[in-house]
């Protein structure tokens, strides 16, 4: 009992740590005063004004689409790459992994600047496409790093066993290997999605004047103080995801409970 209490307590503390700033931001979205340092009373007006604010809404769409598309492409390329690397001999594998990890090892600013130098040198106009390419690039390693450990933990015998039992390699792949590494792919996708959503530096250097993501929008707003509409938007996004998560969990929970030991 005591042990269980400590475990729960520990989880609670960590979650409090992770969620404290979010609670603050949610509170600020209801703050009547425009300054984050002063509580001016409760209001809902920022939520109403948010939907009038074309700039913020446009930045939101850009951010979401960018995250969705870049994570999807990165997941496809990254997962395929993980299989290929895993099948390689040691030396090429180490080299490939090294290259893959470069965007993670580099300061974001270096990756951002180096891509900008490339785009400018190619006379490729900076805009949505350049940011998308950049996001895919830094997302791939996150997918790869999520999928690789799963591939390593795979038991080749199950794959062989499936084939021995008459499954085609293709069928065996989808029935045996894919389910096993699927959690890795999913977490890779979401990690990539989230990284893209959260990125500021690389977007900042590769974007053109015609687009803004939420990050770059927020950054430029720091000068005059962050608009409370942004807090409102973050609160809505956060709540939406939370609800989605709860619903999804309900559904999968109903199906899965009996299977757990």
């Amino acid at each position: 009992m005591v042990k269980n209490f400590f475990k729960r307590f520990y989880i609670g503390i960590i979650l409090l740590f992770l969620y404290a700033p979010i609670i603050i931001l949610i509170i600020l979205s209801f703050n009547k005063s425009k300054s984050r340092a002063k509580w001016g009373g409760f209001t809902l007006k920022w939520y109403a004004e948010l939907f009038q604010n074309d700039d913020i809404m446009r930045a939101l769409y850009t951010t979401l689409i960018l995250a969705f598309v870049s994570a999807l492409i990165a997941t496809i390329i990254g997962t395929a790459g993980a299989f290929a690397i895993n099948a390689m001999k040691k030396t090429p594998r180490v080299i490939m992994l090294g290259i893959t990890n470069i965007p993670m090892l580099n300061a974001d600013i270096v990756t951002g600047i180096s891509l900008m130098l490339l785009f400018v040198a190619l006379r490729f106009s900076l805009g949505f496409t350049s940011v998308l390419l950049a996001h895919i690039t830094f997302n791939i390693p996150y997918v790869l790093l999520s999928v690789m450990p799963k591939l390593k933990q795979l038991n080749p015998n199950t794959f062989e066993a499936a084939q021995d039992l008459g499954a085609s390699p293709f069928y065996a792949f989808f029935k045996v290997i894919l389910p096993d590494i699927f959690p890795g792919i999913i977490s890779g996708y979401f990690l990539a999605f989230t990284m893209s959503l959260d990125d500021f530096v690389i977007t900042y250097f590769t974007k053109g004047p015609e687009i803004n993501t939420l990050s770059t929008k927020i950054y430029t707003e720091v000068r005059k103080g962050i608009k409370p509409e942004i807090y409102a938007l973050s609160t809505i996004m956060f709540t939406a995801i939370l609800l989605l998560l709860i619903i999804a969990n309900r559904k999968s929970g109903e199906k899965n409970i009996p299977l757990r030991k």
Partner: protein, 291 residues
Amino acid sequence: MNDTKPKHNPLLERGLMLPNANRMKLFSFPYILWMAGFIIIPLIMILFYGMTTSENRFTFANLAMIAEPINYKALALALLLSIISTVICLILAYPLSIILNNIKMKSNSLIIFIIILPMWMNFLLRTIAWQNILERTGILNTLLTFLHLPTLNIINTPAAIILGMVYNYLPFMILPIYNVLIKIDQDVVNAARDLGANSLQTFIKIIFPLSLPGVISGITMVFVPSLTTFAISSILGGSKIVLMGNVIEQQFTLGNWHTGSGLSLVLMIFVLLCMAILSKYDKEAEGSSIW
């Protein structure tokens, strides 16, 4: 969806060789192409900038800038703070991952969601929110005063930056460790117990070595962004504390692309060295680590 997966023994053969290795290699083409175009070539451009003057003459002067006291002290401080942050992340994340693993949630994607969820609020915003908490008249101090406890003044100190790093990168430590732990076969653990190992021995001999790939991934994912950050240090350090990332950012915003590139090269080499040292302790897990 994760609950139907078969048990397997991770102690078996590590580098899985699927049949048709040649066909597997086809998978790598889009990937190799992508990496060449968007990683290698841009890096060559940085290398070019770092090794030339603004008149396009070859020089080592940009690299030598690291010998300036401002620059190497910024690097040393960044190194110190990022090591501390990484260690704290590891200390916080490992027990958490074990507890989460033992809880046997209905769905482990739920746990992943809960850990990633905070990142759905923009990181600049979340870091600014920490200012609200840590400020002298901030929430934490109001709370402490209310409880008649002495107030804390850590905003604009290295401690605040460490806190910011730990906060921002903790999920990157939790996720890989947790991901590896849930894959460890319970039968192996049980076997060790049956053979007379106590909890501690089981942990040291079985669980920890098996979780190493996750630990190494986690260390990489926390250490590198901490070492190179500039946003956290400028927001929570009040621009009083200059880290390597700030120095490089400064050079680029001032338009000194050559000096900035040179210092970036130094930083890169430095990170690679750290990773090489790390990989010495991780021969087994080669693959999820860096080199």
